[in-house]
């Protein structure tokens, strides 16, 4: 008997938001089940394909092996049916990346799954839960096609055996979320709601390139954001990654280079012993940039390897 599941919650996702036509999850959110089904129909929804088709893929893993990549053929609802191996196996379906090329955040989401045999959803959490706040790099840009395999967040899950949530989309900046005390409070509360055991902030390159604010203003807000997180998660370590290299790091409209924003993060961390600074310049080689800004598969590999080195002792 076939079973259809419309998830109201997903692993590695903030609570799903009802957007009317679909439910929005965090990017790379996971549906997991152990099943003997030999067929699954993956129902999906995306509102990003017309602008960035490569970022609308979803992926299916079988027993930890990346098996299928589903590329929607149009915006809106769609489905694709996949044959699965015989016998019991763990199936994971991973949602797509997200971006904000205009006024709203767009993405590619899991809508409904139909299995040819019972497939109870598994929402068992890992002991270690890493919350990564970031931009298009955290959202997997540069690692597509196959971002669910090659981007650093899904890679990290496999490397450290932890839940890793990517709260990220393309063009995101700290200015979008933490421009004032009220916004920072809301941001911290939302982050704490997921109950992370570790927080990684990987933000700032768009604050520089879009010149939302000066490096000094950015640094002050960054420090206040750290304090807001600390207030609701007093025992959770916070790791702060500064922007990775860019092909061009010339001064922006405020006269500040990317380096000035890196220094602002370092300064904010230096004043807070419980926050660890990590220099993005040493994490990704400039040779591993796909387009001058986003890391390629090898660059994403460098990030996941680096994060593994700092997170694994706690995992």
């Amino acid at each position: 008997m076939s079973v259809t599941v419309s998830p109201l919650a997903l692993l590695d996702s903030l609570p799903l938001e009802d957007a009317g036509t679909h439910r929005r999850s965090s990017c790379f959110a996971r549906f997991r089940t152990e099943t003997e089904a030999t067929v699954v129909r993956l129902g999906h929804y995306n509102d990003l394909r017309d602008q960035i088709a490569n970022l609308t893929e979803l992926a299916l893993w079988v027993d930890g092996v990346y098996t299928y990549l589903v590329q929607p053929t149009a915006e809106g609802s769609g489905s694709w049916t996949l044959a699965l191996p015989r016998g019991a196996k763990v199936i994971e379906v991973i949602a797509g990346p997200q971006s904000k090329p205009g006024a709203t955040v767009l993405g590619s989401f899991i809508e409904e799954l139909s299995f040819s045999r019972p497939a109870p959803q598994d929402l068992t959490q890992a002991v270690e839960r890493v919350f990564v706040y970031g931009d298009s790099i955290t959202a997997g840009d540069g690692a597509e096609p196959g971002a669910q395999r090659d981007a650093f967040v899904p890679k990290l899950r496999g490397l450290i055996g932890a839940d890793v949530l990517a709260d990220a989309w393309g063009w995101r900046a700290l200015h979008d979320d933490c421009a004032d005390a009220s916004a920072r409070g809301n941001f911290a509360a939302r982050l704490a709601g997921w109950a992370p055991t570790r927080v990684v902030l990987f933000i700032g390159t768009n604050d520089y390139t879009l010149a939302h604010w000066s490096a000094a203003e950015f640094g002050a807000a960054y420090g206040a954001t750290l304090d807001a997180i600390r207030a609701v998660l007093p025992l959770v370590p916070i790791d702060c990654l500064s922007p990775i290299p860019r092909t061009s790091e010339t001064a922006n409209a405020f006269g500040d280079t990317t380096g000035a924003y890196r220094s602002a993060i370092a300064t904010a961390c230096a004043a807070r012993a419980w926050a660890s600074y990590h220099d993005g310049m040493t994490i990704v080689s400039p040779a591993n940039l796909a387009d001058g800004v986003h890391p390629n598969d090898a660059g994403h590999g460098e990030i996941s390897a680096y994060l593994t080195s700092i997170l694994e002792p706690a995992a």
């Binding site: 008997m1 076939s2 998830p7 109201l8 609570p15 299928y68 139909s114 929402l123």
Partner: protein, 274 residues
């Protein structure tokens, strides 16, 4: 704790579709036309086309298969038949161009009907060239036949066609992908009373895959299943063979609804140990 806003009883909206398993034989209880051939019942498998010596062990050549539907549409293989296999997905190992034909040779009598349903339990061994596990040839009411295609575009997709040649035809691909080694129950429902691509519905494991039109010409109408040369395991022209395991095949002169397709698919999957 788990995220905000959902209790453990609210993590998903679930629904089960389709009745319990449906034995295909029950669909023939009203003397419906068609056929049901399955490797799950060794007593229906024979080492000779005359169907006198039963299959008794793996790796014997299957040269005759008795029709379990009661319609006496028995099958034969004109030369050394496919090997009977029981490892992994049980069934007949198909590798040659010949395929199964009716015994005595001729057209499958399925009557005058605007609807027809077809099931195949298969294991796809590789993804290389176009393969056709089920086919009927001309002549056909309205001038065509129907076929099922695996590897339709050599990318693991499956498809089906209704009608062909200079007549009206419709060719669709399932919105689905098969990986080499996958075992599955494929269901196809042809219904010329429907419009557009709804004339052909493709199911995997009882799940409606949705389809994409590959090619179409005019509008296929009228009887879907008049006399045509039946071939199972290859095309009616003795080429493009299915390359893998064939566990069961069934055809019936009805356009079954989705729930029945799911029930039959479940039963066929159980018979094949899927």
């Amino acid at each position: 704790m788990f995220g905000v806003g959902f209790s453990t009883t609210e993590v998903a909206q679930r629904r089960q579709s389709g009745p319990a398993e449906i034995d295909p034989l029950s669909l023939f209880s009203g003397a419906e036309k068609g056929g049901f051939w399955s490797c799950h019942q060794m007593s229906a498998l024979f080492q000779d086309a005359a169907r006198t010596t039963q299959i008794t062990a793996p790796d014997q050549n299957i040269e005759g298969i008795a029709d379990l539907s009661g319609n006496a549409n028995h099958l034969r293989y004109v030369t050394a038949g496919p090997l009977y296999k029981t490892d992994g997905a049980p069934g007949a190992l198909m590798t040659t161009n010949l395929g199964w034909s009716l015994d005595p040779a001729g057209a499958l009598d399925i009557g005058a009907t605007t609807g027809l349903s077809l099931f195949l339990t298969l294991r796809q061994d590789q993804i290389d060239t176009t393969e056709i596990p089920f086919s009927t040839g001309q002549p056909f009411s309205g001038g065509g036949g129907f076929e099922v295609v695996t590897n339709n575009t050599v990318d693991g997709r499956i498809g089906a066609s209704l009608g062909h040649g200079s007549s009206a035809y419709l060719i669709v691909n399932a919105n689905a992908t098969i990986l080499p080694g996958a075992s599955y129950v494929l269901g196809v429902v042809f219904d010329t009373t429907q419009s557009g691509t709804d004339k052909i519905r493709l199911y995997l494991g009882g799940i409606d895959t949705g389809v994409t039109t590959v090619a179409a010409n005019g509008t296929v109408t009228g009887n879907v299943a008049a006399a045509g040369t039946l071939k199972i395991g290859s095309r009616y022209t003795n080429n493009t063979p299915f390359d893998g395991r064939l566990h069961a095949a069934m055809v019936i002169n009805q356009a079954l609804d989705a729930e029945t397709v799911a029930g039959v698919s479940d039963h066929l999957a159980t018979l094949a140990g899927l």
